[in-house]
Symmetry: C2
Subunit: 196 residues, 2 copies
Amino acid sequence: MEQSRDIETLIELMARLPGLGPRSARRAVLALLKKRGPLMAPLAQAMATVALTAKDCTICGNIGTAEICPICADDARANGEICVVEDVSDLWAMERGGAFKGRYHVLGGTLSALDAIGPDQLGIPRLVDRARDATEVILALNATVDGQTTAHYIADALAGLGVQITSLAQGVPIGGELNYLDDGTIGAALRARRQF
Amino acid sequence: MEQSRDIETLIELMARLPGLGPRSARRAVLALLKKRGPLMAPLAQAMATVALTAKDCTICGNIGTAEICPICADDARANGEICVVEDVSDLWAMERGGAFKGRYHVLGGTLSALDAIGPDQLGIPRLVDRARDATEVILALNATVDGQTTAHYIADALAGLGVQITSLAQGVPIGGELNYLDDGTIGAALRARRQF
Ligand SMILES: [Zn+2]
Ligand SMILES: [Zn+2]
């Protein structure tokens, strides 16, 4: 091959990122090679730092650089409202909307007998514990079959705790995924949330 | 914001790569965060290594990790054939085709009065020096107005040296850029090269 082994390795690793194939990874690496000082070195440094320091928040499952994420550590946020999301990307999407001022619980997936993902894998017992002290649990799962099945399971698990259970309503299109919605739609869906 | 400052910085730097916007950069960083051990750490390491060691070949302008790139250092390649390309990406595209077994000269752009890019910036005097010992110079510039203007300038500069001057012919579509051609087309264009 025409380039060095190290550059080949870099292209192969870049090609494993979502949205980048072998061709676009090569393009990205070439762009980095032409901006070694201003872009490549700082990017390598930032990535190494995050790879070393990133942690799953022990309370909510958000990814940050501390044991407790900035949201769980923020006293200004309502402790009594817990928004349940499937993935960290959904939490980030909610935060971009900026409409929610409570806390989160990141499931990390949905219930799946096929993939042997049960309530324990999704931290649902932990969520039930947290919900004892909460006033409202907002089920902000994707409007997919798996998401809604999991939402119903969680609603059942929370029944009898005296906590209000709501779900995002108006605005989430059927089959849609939170991560791909615009910020305004998420805000509207949150404001119009209804009894689950 | 919901994520840590370090993660924000990483997303901002990733978004500066070609083909990645803010949204896809976020998606890529999330994928990395979920594969910190198997993907993020090795990628950071590979990038740091290349950022530190990458060099422009002092002979041809290819980017590698040594003063002299593997192509210029390869005694099995014909020293008497010099293929002139605009960009390192074009050299890589030629090599993927695998049809050319000579050496390269990477211009790093095209002549442009507007951008004050003259023959010196493109290493054309250096090319003329190398061409004195060569038997053939293949002008493999993009089939654009700027590419062809530059090709004609180089052909004039080489005139009288007794070196054969050819150009890629059949197969390169009008207005097309080498980097986006399939390997077979590049090979065919090389085999059918004609007197310039
Ligand atoms: Zn947290
Ligand atoms: Zn070289």
